[in-house]
């Protein structure tokens, strides 16, 4: 299946919209995943991540727009498109009366091709070989997640969608999944990873797309996203007057008072400009400490800002 991929973009959504009555769950979402990259899909609960994945899989019918997998429109070529896609959904659902092996075998029969020959290697790869004969209903949450990931790889897909794969896994398990996700990308697959574990996303993803209320509010590489979110801790006398001065500096988005002095949210590489402005006003800082925001800082800032924003007219 991997050999069939000629286009770099293996997954694309264009102007994807989903309305449930008055509620706009997904609002003109454009997304691309290229072969060999891991794209993180981030957003708070109810942001539209699962609905987006549902539309990509053809489980949810879009109100407008389209989703293409391996260049095929999911609306018109669903079966052919999904033959090259493996998806692990947020809630992993298997038959409780079947063992782990039997569940994989049943799906392999459905997939056809060489899927049945992949059952054994996948059970080993995901660390399930010891419990392959246990019924699914006896599996822990972590084991269910592993079985879910194994099922995505049965068809040797060019596109992999993982929805919250780290759920229920202990730290060691989460690390294994991170390594596996990177490995999938190294093998040339395009991976769309939806997760609320921002640290996981930061460590794994090449690019991230942050959505809220169904709209993209930020997109880019981790560096691009976090660069815009630098902050500076400034210890300065007369903090109230210093805050007035700093607010006038170009690139400064916010100035907040802290116990130590001031926290300035600004673009990167603005330390010298802040210092020059303070000196120009006769204020001499005893410390200007730049701090690179983590993805979590930026995510929270972006989503809080969006939540507090007044509704569009």
């Amino acid at each position: 299946m991997l050999g069939d991929v000629t286009d770099d973009v293996v997954l694309r959504t264009s102007g994807l919209v989903k309305r449930f009555g008055e509620l706009v769950a997904v609002d003109h979402l454009d997304l691309e995943v290229k072969r060999g990259e891991v794209v993180g899909l981030l957003g708070p609960n109810g942001a539209g991540k699962s609905t987006t994945i549902g539309m990509i899989l053809g489980l949810v019918t879009p109100t407008a727009g389209r989703a293409d997998v391996l260049g095929m429109d999911i609306a018109t070529h669903r079966e052919e498109a999904l033959a090259g896609l493996g998806a692990m959904l947020e809630v992993t659902s298997f038959y409780p009366y079947l063992t782990g092996r039997e569940n994989l075998t049943a799906l392999a029969i459905l997939r056809g091709g060489g899927a049945r020959a992949r059952v054994d290697p996948l059970l080993k790869r995901l660390g399930l070989a010891d419990r392959e004969k246990a019924k699914f209903r006896t599996y822990s949450l972590g084991m269910r997640q592993r079985l879910g990931i194994a099922s995505t790889l049965l068809a040797d897909p060019a596109v992999v969608i993982l929805d919250e794969p780290g759920n229920g896994l202990d730290p060691a398990g989460q690390r294994e999944i991170r390594e596996l996700t990177k490995e999938l990308a190294r093998e040339g697959r395009g991976v769309l990873l939806a997760s609320h574990l921002l640290h996981e996303v930061e460590l794994v993803c090449d690019r991230v797309v942050v959505i809220q209320k169904g709209r993209i509010i930020a997109a880019g590489t981790i560096a691009e996203i976090t660069r815009g979110g630098s902050s500076y801790e400034i210890v300065v006398p007369e903090p109230a007057r210093a805050a007035e001065v700093l607010r006038r500096v170009e690139g400064v988005r916010e100035v907040r008072a802290t116990e130590q002095g001031l926290e300035v949210i600004a673009g990167p590489d603005l330390g010298h400009a802040l210092n020059r402005a303070l000196v120009g006003a006769g204020l001499y800082a005893s410390a200007i400490v730049p701090r690179q925001s983590s993805l979590e800082d930026v995510f929270l800032e972006l989503t809080e800002k969006e939540t507090n924003a007044p509704p569009a007219a």
């Binding site: 699962s50 033959a83 809630v91 459905l110 997939r111 068809a155």
Partner: protein, 296 residues
């Protein structure tokens, strides 16, 4: 189309419920034949000895009651399997297959496995076709096994009782079995539709059984009051099934003479049942096609 069916059969053969149902219908055939023989025989022995309680003797007197019981006993002979044996399979089978059909469909929603199947590339139409196809195969196996069990029970009990085991007519048994199997189909489609619509096995079982019993009861009562009601009742399921199966006693025990006389002819019954089946399947296709399968 074959891969989804193989997938379905792979799972079905590993599930307990179909095995239990098959074992039950096979066991029930034998147990019921034995019960009928021993209970009627015990009453007959009492009547012949003259020690029977008064309520056992019918209004026509002891001799007539003995004759009636002797005729009942003869029903266990292989020559009557197409009536008693197939009738037992029809009565028990309808209930058991309604339960199975609703569970077969509803658990896919309850367990969330419909999402997993569809996300693996299965189309909704293929899913539904596979479900109904596997259900039909199971109903066929169920009917054949049930009838085989009653045939075996009939020979067993007749041998125990010293009755003539001759007169077994395979063609008649096959014909009655075929009509019984055919009459299961609309109920299977109905139970599947309700389970799919409600996304629940429980709702499919409850509604399927209520319709199965209530329709028979209500139409029987109405027709016993006024034969004209038969025109409307004959457009439903119960009376067409009754006509096709020629079961002497309805599930609700309401086979009054008025009711029996106004049954539709078997050809009309087969057509009406086929139309209902198509309607139920078409509604199921439409509902599944237009429904969003949400992930949460």
């Amino acid at each position: 189309m074959l891969r989804p069916l193989r997938n379905e059969l792979y799972r079905m053969t590993r599930r307990w419920m179909p095995r239990v149902l098959l074992a039950t219908i096979a066991g029930a055939g034998i147990v019921l034949y034995e019960l009928i023989y021993y209970s009627v025989n015990a009453q007959l022995t009492l009547l012949r000895s003259g020690n029977a309680p008064a309520n056992l003797v019918g209004p026509a007197g002891a001799e007539a009651t003995i004759k009636q019981f002797e005729e009942t006993l003869l029903q266990v002979r292989p020559a009557h399997v197409q009536e008693l044996g197939v009738g037992l399979v029809a009565g028990l089978g309808s209930v058991m297959l309604i339960v199975f059909a609703a569970s077969h469909m509803g658990t896919e929603f309850g367990w969330g496995t419909l999402r997993t199947q569809l996300a693996s590339g299965l189309s909704r139409r293929a899913f539904l076709a596979t479900k109904l196809g596997s259900l039909a195969l199971f109903a066929l196996a169920f009917t054949v096994l049930g009838i085989l069990a009653t045939v075996a029970a009939s020979f067993l009990v007749s041998t125990q009782a010293g009755y003539d085991t001759g007169g077994f007519d395979l063609a008649k048994v096959v014909s009655a079995g075929w009509r019984t199997g055919y009459s299961f189909i609309p109920y299977l489609a109905l139970a599947s539709l309700i389970a799919l619509w409600s996304r629940s096995s429980g709702a499919g079982i409850a509604a399927g059984l209520v319709i199965y019993f209530a329709e028979s009861l209500v139409t029987g009562l109405l027709i016993s009051f006024n034969r004209d009601f038969a025109t409307i009742a004959n457009l439903g399921l119960a009376r067409n099934v009754q006509s096709l199966s020629r079961i002497s006693v309805t599930v609700a025990g309401t086979n009054s003479s008025n009711s029996a006389a106004t049954l539709p002819d078997p050809t009309q019954a087969a057509v009406v049942l086929a139309v209902w089946t198509v309607v139920f399947i078409a509604l199921a296709v439409w509902r599944l096609r237009t429904r969003d399968i949400t992930l949460a």
